[in-house]
Subunit: 311 residues, 2 copies
């Protein structure tokens, strides 16, 4: 069987990297020849999880077609979030927990998506369905992915299955998930030593919303007011990035991972800002607004923006 | 939980109807409130299977949004093969075994696809994974769907999983699948008492191939020469349908289900015919050509046509 690469989205987070490693293990046990790779270096939080459970960061690739004919995707399907030459390779498998958008194939494929909080929750189910044991260190990594994506089971994306998976994986990994989870989330909130340019790209995704190129970045923090002191510099960096990349709107969501609240900063022309205001039924003040209770890009940001751009 | 409708594609076949009935049973056992419906009356083969295992034909719907907010799809995902107002409802679940094309959602969803011969094979796996017993009559209906889609395990779409599913379901249903399978396939080959207009619409699907509206219909027979005696009348009916519906190409595949061979009849302008000839590396003679060994629209017709239309 020809080798295939498995990877998550650009600007990888703990789910993108952790689930790629888990799926590669799973598929190799099933007789496939796969390697987990990544479309970027791990962020601080992901590096913390990799170190904790004894994994090396996956090799970073820029293109796939120079290595393989076929790839497997985790934690994404939208082509603009994938490897730069995704149109030159066949996608044979997808495991994901996002909406499906602009994902087209010439052939039938394996596709497994569920509306749960984390791709690793689906992986956990797949291990169970196959009756395959999850190695202790891999359970720790998958646990980290779920804690990361659900903000320790507090995000509105959290389902009963995520809770079950966390309980089960914590037991296998032998960790107290609440204590470890807080340490993991805090490891990802060190924004003081990073530039605004880095921060707006760290966990950023592009979306095609009714033909508009919309960039949505998210930063985790434990101190929202401190982060908002850098607002003018964030706006400058977002304006520069929009000019360079042709974004029609750039939205930065700064989330307090302990309180589950966010501030949004929005850059774009008046029309884009009006669409944002319609989507959230809030007035921007000097390009920003508080979004109490909003923590999930997927569930609380993309759907209202999609609707507002369409209508 | 609000009621949802479950249905397969337009011009339903035994998989579209049988798997909708199976998935509705499965989901209702899981606490959902669903009704299996259909986007058309059963064909002769499907009616034979329904009668054999004691099912009524599902209610036929024209639109969904007048009844429900949310639907579940089986055996298709492409919007032009679905209910006419698919854009007005949310798709919450999909179980399918086709390529993914032009299927876009605003929200995360449950999506389960595998490159196997029949959607009922995936359903069989899902019952097994959930540890849910398959009722005897339902097993017979799912068995019928797999026999139909794989031409009794002879189509090149057939996988080891389809074979396993057939063995397992035949045991539950208490039938000799080879004997029953031949009877089922023959039940779908009575074309003598149908008009050409009916026959080209019975198992027809539309595909968007690089912006072209391509119609591909398939007829099963046990006597190819007899069917080809009606060629001129088929061409006339296909030309009329193309004019009425704006098809850029209309391809009719007439398949001998016993020998696994087909004849193709192609209607369209010279450019469309040239694309067909490039796709199959065959010359049309008076709008038709033999395609030995070709029996699967999904695996042997749509992929080469997709490639030829793209470039």
């Amino acid at each position: 069987m020809a080798k295939e690469l498995i990877f998550g989205h650009q600007n990888p987070d703990t789910d993108a990297i952790g689930t790629a490693i888990a799926y590669s293990y799973f598929q190799n046990q099933n007789g496939f020849d796969t390697e987990a790779v990544a479309l970027g270096e791990p962020n601080d939080e992901t590096q913390y999880a990799l170190d904790k459970f004894g994994f090396k960061a996956p090799r970073v690739i820029e293109t796939a077609a120079n290595e393989v004919d076929s790839v497997m995707l985790v934690d994404h399907n939208e082509p603009q979030q994938s490897v730069s030459d995704i149109d030159k390779v066949k996608v044979s498998h997808v495991v994901d927990h996002h909406r499906i958008m602009n994902f087209n194939t010439a052939d039938p494929l394996y596709y497994r998506a569920e509306p749960v909080g984390c791709t690793s929750t689906i992986m956990w189910e797949m291990f169970n369905e196959a009756g395959m044991e999850i190695p202790k260190n891999l359970a720790g990594l998958m646990l980290s992915a779920i804690i990361s994506d659900t903000l320790l089971l507090k995000s509105p994306t959290t389902t009963d299955k995520d809770k079950e998976a966390v309980e089960s994986l914590a037991k296998i990994a032998g960790v107290d998930y609440k204590e470890y989870g807080l340490a993991l989330l805090k490891a990802g909130t060190n924004i003081a030593d990073k530039s605004e340019e880095e921060l707006i790209d760290l966990d950023a995704k592009s979306f095609d919303l009714n033909g508009n190129n919309v960039r949505i970045a998210q930063i985790n923090t434990v101190d929202l007011p401190e982060a908002m002191e850098r607002k003018a510099a964030f706006i400058k960096a977002m304006e520069d990035a929009s000019k360079a990349n042709g974004y029609d709107m750039f939205m930065l969501v700064i989330t307090n991972v302990l309180d589950s609240d966010s501030e949004a900063i929005v850059v774009g022309n008046d029309e884009a800002k009006a669409i944002f205001e319609k989507a959230f039924d809030k007035k921007l003040e000097d390009s920003s607004v508080a979004l109490p209770g909003v923590v999930s890009r997927k569930k609380q940001v993309v759907p209202p923006l999609t609707e507002a751009f369409e209508g």
